[in-house]
Symmetry: D2
Subunit: 176 residues, 4 copies
């Protein structure tokens, strides 16, 4: 999946923390932070998910939606259980909508993960108000750069054309 292009609809078999299924179209007009995670992935528990919670607390809900995508590609039997995931969300105080990635092809990666070409978890994606992918990063994302990227997208006029990749690499090479 390349930055600057429309993000194809995700394939979710079940939603938690949501009253009804959520589509990308429902979120059009807002910036979306989409975090792909697995509940047994330590990097998700230690950095990715706490950062997503913090993002939700810092920005206004009118401007930004935080959505989780549970993409189980390891330990299916263990991580594929909804009751365990629900307990996990409770313990980690994650109250934003969580979609469970569909899995049409046994033995293959989950459907959305495959279509989006995700490398692993955690992966953080930013989608602009018009539905275009603007940032996709596997692993740790620096707080300063993430805050800047989100605010940049929030500030974009809804009618303005997307400007491609936010080019976080510049900063991540030099930052820290």
């Amino acid at each position: 999946m390349r930055t600057g292009y429309l993000v194809p609809q995700w394939h979710v078999e079940r939603w938690l923390n949501a009253e009804s299924p959520l589509t990308l179209e429902d979120l059009r007009g807002r910036v979306v932070l989409l975090i792909a995670f697995q509940m047994l992935c330590p990097g998700c528990v230690i950095t990715g998910l706490p950062q997503a919670r913090k993002v939700k607390a810092v920005f206004s809900e009118q401007d930004l939606a935080v959505v989780g995508l549970h993409t189980v590609f390891e330990h299916h039997e263990a991580q594929g259980q909804v009751a365990v995931l629900q307990a996990f969300l409770h313990e980690n105080r994650l109250d934003f909508p969580i979609g469970i990635d569909a899995h049409a092809r046994p033995g293959a990666l989950p459907d959305t993960m495959l279509e989006y070409g995700l490398e692993g978890t955690p992966t953080t994606m930013l989608i602009d108000r018009r539905g275009r992918l603007r940032l996709l990063k596997f692993g740790h994302v620096d707080d300063l750069q993430l805050g800047a990227a989100i605010a940049t997208l929030i500030a974009e006029d809804r009618n303005a054309s997307a400007q491609g990749d936010l080019d976080m690499d510049h900063g991540s090479r030099q930052g820290q």
Copy 2:
């Protein structure tokens, strides 16, 4: 459970990462770091268990044994599944013996947790070469103080009498 006294035998219904059931008597002569945890407890994943792994790497196995105790007192249905725990251990690269706390009284706390009087997870315990409890701390334990406490116990002569509480409180009030 008070420091300075012999630790009663734990009640474990099943061991992982161990070829046969492990008893406190088996470990007599070595210092034991016992960490009580739950796999869905964020504080365990973020601080308690990585610290236990680091302790295992820093000290010699002849001097110190690291043992985990999975004490499920919340979300039994979710955390009580051995397959999920096994995946968790794999993902968090925990290769020391893990005992699953027995649970004879449904609705009550797990047996060892109850007998030891543990407040929650993570809880770190240090047991000396003679089997006596020397430190019991719920929550975060400072690295500097933990390293000092373990080395102090390792240095004690096997025949010397235990000297009671290591009095970590002194330091934790002033440290920072």
Copy 3:
């Protein structure tokens, strides 16, 4: 000094890392991060100044200027020496312009510190493209919120009117 209002000109008796004296007017059209510090203040060395360096690395120089203000209000004899400050800048790899706050009234606070009403060091200020104060925070500023605040100001049209306080408090209450 209240957010939303024009920042009065600073009073600098000498500039380091600058070929000629720098005025707020020189920077009009760019966002300015102004960090007030003292070289012997541990919080400045540990958090404030490294954050300013990181901000400089992450954002484009065309959009953002980072400026330091050395406001000596303690240990004048020690911190007031330019040779020591120069060595300090070298050791901390600070290469952005640093103004030394003027000190017209012996025994009083330095002039800019007094006029701006700064409480201590480090203090971080954000000034928008039109020269108005938009954020003033004494102590630690969260990276996520700072990145968002700077990007928000960068995105503002140069002709648009300032919108007052960025209201970081909302986030800092809830973040963490």
Copy 4:
């Protein structure tokens, strides 16, 4: 300077935070943590000196002495001023004895730094109750390992023979 050998007397031209000059002989019978630092060295302010303060708070004064050595090998004119160092100690709340390394040969390294063969700052040294060097590390020292090393030395009988290098490298390769 090799571990296991007696540490030669330091060469100090002036002591701060001490009523009278301090010698290694004065400290015989206690373990000594000696931290070599420069006040304008960021790594000293950020990690080395706060760690030394924490060590002082955690261990008993009867068992351990913490001593600082200000070894100015860069920016002599700036860092060589006692008034600046005094302000620095005050701001960083360092209340243990600080020796200013003597400097008999202009253009060369300070005397103690040269004799001890120190590579830079911060450098942490541990000296046992009998005056022998047991650990010498340039740069960051892990808290868990430092706590263990100090407690190990404290536990050694005053009459027992030194056992050489504490071999922190074993742990540092595997820890983290």
